[in-house]
Symmetry: C2
Amino acid sequence: MKSTAYRVVRRTQTSSSLFPLFPNTLRYVYGKLVQYDGFERFEWKHSYSRVYEPQGKYSPEGIFMSFEHYNVEFRDRVKCISGIEGVPLSTQWGPQGYFYPIQIAQYGLSHYSKYLVDEKRTVSVLEDAESRDTARWTVLDPMDSQVDNVWDADAGSRVISFNSLDSSSGVNLPVGSKLFFLSLDLRFISNASITVVLEAKGKQPQLFFVHYVCSNTLISADGNEVFYGIGDQRSHWQTLSRDLSTDLHKGLALNRGRSKKSRPSLMRVVSLSLSGRGRVDNITVSSNSHLPQFHAAADWLVRHQDSRGGWPIHVERVLANGRLQLPPGWYSGMAQGQAMSLLVRAYSHTRNQGYLNAALRATALFDVASGNGGVLAKFADNYPWYEEYPTTPSCFVLNGFIYALIGLYDLQHTVTDDRGADASRLYASGMRSLKAMLPLFDTGSGSIYDLRHFTLGVAPNLARWDYHTTHINQLLLLATIDSDPLLSETASRWAGYMKGHRAPHN
Amino acid sequence: MKSTAYRVVRRTQTSSSLFPLFPNTLRYVYGKLVQYDGFERFEWKHSYSRVYEPQGKYSPEGIFMSFEHYNVEFRDRVKCISGIEGVPLSTQWGPQGYFYPIQIAQYGLSHYSKYLVDEKRTVSVLEDAESRDTARWTVLDPMDSQVDNVWDADAGSRVISFNSLDSSSGVNLPVGSKLFFLSLDLRFISNASITVVLEAKGKQPQLFFVHYVCSNTLISADGNEVFYGIGDQRSHWQTLSRDLSTDLHKGLALNRGRSKKSRPSLMRVVSLSLSGRGRVDNITVSSNSHLPQFHAAADWLVRHQDSRGGWPIHVERVLANGRLQLPPGWYSGMAQGQAMSLLVRAYSHTRNQGYLNAALRATALFDVASGNGGVLAKFADNYPWYEEYPTTPSCFVLNGFIYALIGLYDLQHTVTDDRGADASRLYASGMRSLKAMLPLFDTGSGSIYDLRHFTLGVAPNLARWDYHTTHINQLLLLATIDSDPLLSETASRWAGYMKGHRAPHN
């Protein structure tokens, strides 16, 4: 089978310039070098709390803010990457795990941004069936299992066919690679499964097993074995793309907790085995991959957009010690905006109108008041505000509002005809609110996360430093597309607060 | 002559309870013991930056906030107490000196509040002419000068008559007292003057001369001599009340600057001499006096209220590095409010309707927008705000607004009939604004002086600690008359900031 375009496009690209966007003002890089998965890695644990000076004008087709430094799936509050949907599940506000459109959009935007940055990528093709044999495969019990190299009319290429009556034996492909991102095309004919064997360092080398099985169970784990359901609808050719390291660690964390000590240091992929009955092709391992995750996120948004153009969030959200509540099914202006940013990029990258149409439909809720199930609040009955959390009374979260504005900008900048009129109007009126209200978030030594103190009459909810830096990064982005000095001056003053500068007193 | 009622009423009252209003939470008293004017004094230099927990419900007839601790005339920015008007002149924004209604109202309110507090008062009667002789007086040159004890029909009592052809000699009353507040009734027949001789401590005892002369010159000084013009309209009986220590020090400061070292340590009043032609009676010196200053301020407000009910301020005011300007002739919502608070107390104390009518007329400018010469601003086109400085754009000074609200409260609480309807309405809508907007002044570690950052898009203008404590004292006052927990909780949180408490971050 020919690989789909996006999987091959950057296969041979390498670059040593891992960090091209570091600003001159960034003097220290926080993080640490760690050894796992056979590589020495620099862990960007705090990378999203750094100020990144934009290198040029922001573009709706380019890197999203500084998201090339984000690692969404690494976060503890990501339960795992769904085997069926290919996107993360959040446990932030519900331990059961739920699809959170903001997290999914950020997952897609971070992988798109990483894709645009020249990251070194190494790919090893394990099997493309073009050799017309099965020389790489081993079969434990030929009475139970068999493997063949066949022509597949649907795929339009030669593929590997497997048939194993006993699910515990199966057919086996030795791997022996230090590359932990797996991709393969597959078509299951019966209830088949894929098992990847991984070896980790220890006093004695340890083996771990990651199983991808035909079920709708999200994830389970038992000892050294982790199971991901990849659904029971795999009878047509589809591509499965999995970050084996993430999949193993999320599985082990289920039972062992999330401490660093429970994280085995992976040495290599030992082998891959297939059981049941089906066909596979284009099996590769690579050091990383970003376009599959980007597309998985964009496709999820297209599939799950509802009739109001929104992505309802099916978990209760409680803020301000219970004084603000959103029952399950709420929409988020930030989710709508981040989805727009992702969908516009998916459209620009593929020219698939479906992505653009979804982005255009996503604006409708910006004209619906929070009290009526939309995301529109008004500050002092005057300034419209697109709410990350459309509570009653309103809470006016700053970073969520700016993400909504960036989404509207992306959309109105991409759609220059009449279809973009709503996005254009909403962006303009939102920017008017931002410019008027931004100073209200300034404490003279930091910034405030939201305006709940205004609506509830309580202490201001001060932004911790990583949200403060998010505010700065957002303002620096906006300052490249809007010349109002308020934006750049505020960003500069707020960056100064991180170095100990203070606003004057009278 | 009988003394006027208010000058005798507290003549014999003494009390050792100098500080009855100290809250339990006040652990330290800042200031220092100093020796001057023959007394050991505790200087309350920072007293108005202390938090004072109210001891009971605020009353429009009672102490004004914690103004019993204020010493308006002591401030460097007070040029002197006018000999004609009996009220302070400010040099805060204009070195020429000008009558600033806020300062005048605060002068009156502080003296009224001090009067209500049981301060020890010692009075020595130097001359009341009831002895029917002039035994206490000396005449240097009987050819030039004479002194008599006579019946005065206008005064309805015996008085001292003096006549001195040579203004350098005159008639003399030895004093020898350590009491530095002078009061006398006088009627000048020709161009007369009064000279007080004061002795100060030094390597060698030093003499100083304070002259009260028939002229319209405000103040002048030459060496050890200070001159106050008391006007040329003194042909009817009037009372002259002067704080000799303040008068001397303000005069010396004209030439010697304002440093502490230039302040002589007064030992005693040596003598009082009269020249020209006129009559005097009821000459006393006392340790302090407050009702004359209170009435001088209230009477000044009645005399100088204009046809719009306001007290125009005849000095340019420039704020925010020149970005906000008020040309001379502006009105201040704070001046209007503080005047109301003073006039209501003057009415309550005297039942003179003139005071109340002036207070009622003072509300009119609260309904006139800043742009039209009034004091009314609107925050976000929604919340009315009575501006201390009615600039365009608005600046929303918090403490000035609350003083305006307290004035409106005083008035609407005192006038319970229809005449108080405007004050009542203005107070209610102002309190709505205050409760809505108060959180916007909270930085999580202090308070903000105004909202210029909102209107100008600049850094917040943080309140220094003495304004922060003013905010707290104002909120504590309001909390005694309005049970909304926002007021008391904000005051409590803001007091916590002074002890290092901080609002939480997310």
